[in-house]
Amino acid sequence: MRGTEAGERAVTVPSGAQPVTWRAAPRLRRLALVAVLSVLAAVLTRQAGLLLLAAPALAVLALGGRGGRPGTLDVGVTTPVSRCFEDEDVEVTATLAVPVDEVTFHVEPGQTVRLADGDMTQTAVDEDAAQARWTLRPGTWGRRIPCTVAVRCRVSGLWQAELTVRAEPLEVFPHPPPARASLVPADLLRRIGEHTARAPGPGIEFAGIRGYLPGDRLRDLNWAVTSRTGRPHVNQRAALRAADLVIMVDAFSELGPLGDTSLDVSIRGAAGLAQAYLRTGDRVGVVVLGGVLRWLGPAPGFRQFFRIVEMAFSVRFQSAVTPDLGRVPRSALPPRAVAVLFSPLLDQRAIGAIADLRQRGVSLVVVDVLRHEPPAQPGFPLSSLAVRLWRLDRDALRASLAGLGVPVLGWDGGTGLEAALAPLRGRPLAATRP
């Protein structure tokens, strides 16, 4: 915006009434310069006719001095929502409640936020409540300020005041990739909807027939078997159980371009998996490794999805602390839960945590989210060798994890999680200590 013409540093302020200082606009300076030059030239050259050049400029300057200038400007930058998903359009409205002659709004989208629609600079003239609208598209999850709006007001064209207002923070949720709840604890049979347990109990699925015992319901009597054998028999049903899924996110290391880092892929994968399991009525929890150890106990319902992604907003926290998994309570990491760890497998603390979890007998699946290999330097022949060694090292790490009973699956975030988890479909996960 040409607001920087004044040479002043823009200070971003929140929405609301702000005191402003009115300064001379470029038009005032130009007119004053023309008037002064003309009058000087008329005096020095003794040509009174040159006053005709100064007359219109002086008249406009005299006229502009009368304009009323408000001491405060009430500018609001609002969004109709406080939450949205990645790549979802959000409309931003900037409003100036104070009537001025001319107001120009210039939007500056925040980091990883794109302007989807609307001119960056919009002008309103002589309106009681001037407004400007833009459609923004946030590209990356997180709690972020979608934009700042530079507002320049002019009175009589000769005086101007500038204000830079920031919008309220927007919670951008990760866009969950398509996924299915295909990983199930070993003690559960997979059925449509809720999971049917191996143990008998109240449920719908038929599990067997046994002799009548005091306390059995009469409606469970199997009349065919009872009449054939002459002794009362009842039908047994399989108990209905919900699976517990604990999603773990390795936030120790983050690699890749902004908006497409390994942590971004991890959080998107976690959101997709959480959504898939919560849809089928399962309980989902989350444990974040990195910085301060944080967790959320497994719970059902779609509210849990939003709790999980809101928790993800604070995962970017640099720390050198090694997580103590012993601090995670039993309720957050139930013994028979399936744990899925999204990790680039680069930090030794995360690898140590995997071994620790397996020692505790947790059914663990690791999803490797590393998308970029270290680039080989073309000028150095040894660098390609180093990359090959790095690959071998990664393969060895995967093999050692597989030896512990931890399958390692690769996922680059480009496709749905279903394809990545397909190798484990129908396979029981290791639930015992190695």
Binding site: V34, Q47, L52, A55, T121, V125
Partner: protein, 204 residues
């Protein structure tokens, strides 16, 4: 997006995209119209700018044509693109026009026209480029008082210049008295404003 997030984010996203796509075409057409109008305003400023540079050269015998080339370059520089519309280029172009008039010594009628063209050029130079049709009309209406004041002042000064004034010490004294009176009218207002500030603070 009615303040809450829908249950199925994928379906919600699709609905949001459909809604926005409906308005996108209309907004693009409006943006194209705005660009066309902005080109018109720029053309008008170019005409006025060309006028302030060419008028002294065409009407006065004493001016040099190469001066007009430099002036035309300054005018073009002030109008080529929005990023080039720095206050310096436009100001230099206006100052150049005054300089040409000083050198060319044109007649009063030409100087009056030059002054009004200069005013029009400076007003148009300051016009926002991104105004829609109704906004542009309102902006033009807003410039009417300035234009009227400019025309009136030019007429008054032109009429005054037509009156033959003899050299007189009384006129000089009257002029000085008028200047002192103008200062006297202006300065107490400033003092009052300064004096009222602490009172207001105490009142708070």
């Amino acid at each position: 997006m009615n303040g809450t997030v829908a249950r199925d984010p994928v379906a919600q996203d699709a609905v949001a995209r459909d809604t926005v796509a409906r308005d996108t075409v209309t907004r693009r057409v409006a943006a194209r119209r705005r660009r066309r109008k902005s080109a018109l305003r720029r053309a008008a400023a170019a005409v006025c700018g060309g006028g302030i540079i060419a008028l002294p050269v065409l009407t006065a015998a004493g001016s040099a044509p190469y001066l007009s080339v430099a002036g035309a370059l300054l005018v073009a520089g002030s109008l080529v693109s929005p990023s080039a519309r720095s206050p310096v280029t436009g100001t230099l172009a206006a100052a150049w026009a005054v300089f040409e008039c000083v050198l060319g010594k044109p007649g009063n009628a030409v100087l009056a026209a030059e002054g009004l063209l200069l005013l029009a050029y400076l007003l148009l130079l300051d016009a926002p480029l991104d105004m829609a049709g109704p906004t542009a009309a309102r902006w033009l209406r807003g410039q009417a008082p300035a234009a009227a004041a400019g025309v009136t002042a030019t007429a008054v000064v032109g009429l005054v210049l037509l009156v033959p004034v003899p050299v007189s010490a009384w006129l000089v004294v009257a002029g000085v008295a008028a200047a002192v009176a103008a200062v006297a009218v202006a300065v107490p207002r400033l003092r009052r404003a300064r004096a009222s500030r602490p009172a207001r603070r105490q009142g708070r």
